[in-house]
């Protein structure tokens, strides 16, 4: 048993992190969040992601892909979540090999979620699922335009979509924890950094605990590819991301309630991703039935 990242996996993680840091930094994020016309999908960035193998990661080399597995895809999506990278990343990744141009990032693919939500409908070239009758929603996530299709009988969700979404949540949770810690070291009140107060320390410690438990669950689910374990990992990752962003907001105090701080962007995306996965209740019932 060697349940740790291999050297290749570390390199991949580092590579994606550097790519995103160079190509989608904080300034780019804020431009999107603060832009007058709402978020725009950066087609050039999309193609660069395609060229880097982000979408073709799991396609066999014989089909022009990178030939890697779920664990590597999870690491890449964790980085996307950490950087708060916008766009229908999961749907396009899943379409690689099935929809022409998805693997290279030339075609942007979105999908209708079982909840009826359709992210990035106007920007996408291809929609998977039935988006007939979808109407625009004033999206709570400033970085994700949303449509909502009429409710349909719930369909089984692709476990890989659930897993990659969980990986994004994991990255977001880790980022929120780091952001809170950085702020708690810099911000002073009562003559000391607020991070020296135990009340703040304990908030941060619990953020890390939730993140590391979710990490073990998400990585293990990537290794086993067991659908039930994937859904359980999704539950823990949703919690780590949402609670993490909430606690980060709390550590930021008044600044956390402003548009200017990035905290709310993580929280709102985490809310959206939670909605896209199976509900907590359904997962709990599934795991109760397995007892």
């Amino acid at each position: 048993m060697d349940f740790q990242l291999t050297e290749d996996q570390r390199d991949l993680q580092q590579g994606v992190r550097e790519l995103l840091a160079g190509r989608f930094d904080r300034e780019a994020l804020r431009d999107l969040a603060d832009g007058p016309e709402g978020p725009v999908l950066d087609r050039e960035l999309w193609r660069e992601l395609g060229a880097a193998g982000f979408f073709a990661l799991r396609l066999p080399e014989s089909e022009g892909g990178v030939g890697l597995g779920l664990p590597e895809a999870v690491l890449a999506f964790e980085e996307a979540g950490r950087a708060l990278l916008p766009g229908p990343l999961v749907a396009t990744h899943l379409a690689a090999g099935a929809v022409e141009g998805a693997a290279t990032g030339d075609t942007v693919v979105t999908a209708v979620d079982s909840s009826g939500l359709v992210p990035w409908l106007d920007a996408a070239d291809v929609v998977r699922g039935d988006a007939a009758g979808a109407v625009p929603v004033r999206s709570a996530d400033p970085l994700t335009p949303l449509h909502r299709a009429p409710a349909r009988p719930p369909a089984a969700q692709d476990p890989v979509a659930v897993l990659l979404t969980a990986a994004e949540q994991l990255g977001s949770a880790a980022r929120s924890c780091e952001t809170a810690v950085t702020y708690a070291r810099e911000r002073s009140q009562f003559g000391q950094p607020i991070g020296a107060f135990q009340a703040v320390k304990h908030l941060c410690a619990q953020m890390l605990v939730r993140t590391e438990l979710a990490r073990a669950a998400v990585y293990a689910a990537a290794v086993t590819a067991d659908p039930a374990e994937i859904r359980a990992a999704g539950l823990l990752a949703d919690e780590a991301a949402v609670r993490g962003a909430r606690d980060c907001l709390q550590v930021y105090g008044g600044m956390g309630f402003t548009w200017e701080a990035d905290v709310h962007l993580h929280l709102k995306r985490a809310w959206l991703r939670s909605e896209l996965g199976p509900s907590a209740g359904a997962v709990e019932e599934e795991w109760a039935a397995a007892l």
Partner: protein
Amino acid sequence: MDLTYTEEEEEFRAGLRAWLADVLPQLPPRPDPTDWPGRRAYDLGWQRRLYDAGYAGLHWPVDAGGRGATPTQHLIYLEETERAGAPYVGANFVGLLHAGPTIAAEGTAEQRARWLPPILRGDEAWCQGFSEPDAGSDLAALRTRAVRDGDHYVVTGSKIWTSHAEVADWCELLVRTTPVSEDVPKHRGISWLALPMDAPGVTVRPLRTLAGSTEFAEMFLDEVRVPVGNRVGDENDGWRVTMVTLSFERGTAFVGEVVACRRTLGALAAEARKNGRWDDPVLRRRLGRLNVEFNALWRLTQWNVSEAQRTGGVPGTGGSVFKLRYSHARQELYDTAAEVLGAGALDLDHEWVLDRLSSLSYTIAAGTSQIQQNIVAERILGLPKGR
């Protein structure tokens, strides 16, 4: 990332399983929990069987008489012994998991030869004299004094929360050999001594826990003479000596318990299905959530053990992260058990009720959750120490 076990690891597992299947039916009946001499004899007898079969000190270094097993083999050992319902480490806990490894790491050749073999053979039991009435979370504030008198220390003070003190032969004792002063911070004046429990001046008074049992004791030391040769490590270096051993923690501390909790969870579901409470969706979801939780805790264990294996057993701070979540989950498990039992939750004859009571210690013992959160925040996240 790989969750499969190597051929060698599977062979180890198969050999252990076969031995357990053979030896467990031969064990004598378990003693009554209140029968301390009986418990000691039972626990040491089990240790002797492990020794004879070559499983004693599995994770100890080979030159200390152990097997030098990898963290993964240790995980397999703990997983399989728990699954098979083998006896717990019991009265051998401190000897095998703390005092022994400390002596192995820091003791002289003579000290190792004197104390290690009897621990491995199940001849001698150890207890731990660290905490004091005024030194709990702030352990380094301990005040039990040791004054040098020729080739002896004369030790006076009191210790508390000393498990198995009534039946131990030896106590790993932290004492203050140099008083705290402007030049000597509290961590610097501490020494580590092996105290023979039958020395004149040692008084043990059992403490009754809220579960009604006498799991631990207070220990009073009145001018107890301890040979200087019983000091492991240098004088005033006892804090470091003790911490070196805490680093023997390799992510395996709660392996058996997580296995046991998952089994209990299955039993809770079976009981709920039988008594009709399964129809309550709130309870059902709570059980499902615990199943998710303990599965993830098992994955986190595998993660931490793999990390220890890579670093060669160097201490990870992952232990604090795990303990914080696990201790909470365990309490949640037994609170849920009470819901499943309904009125039966007040019946002390039900083992879950006693387990619920003992679960209350989990967020306190071995570092309270508050101290663990400080450790995570300061040592992992790098937040500043507060006033």
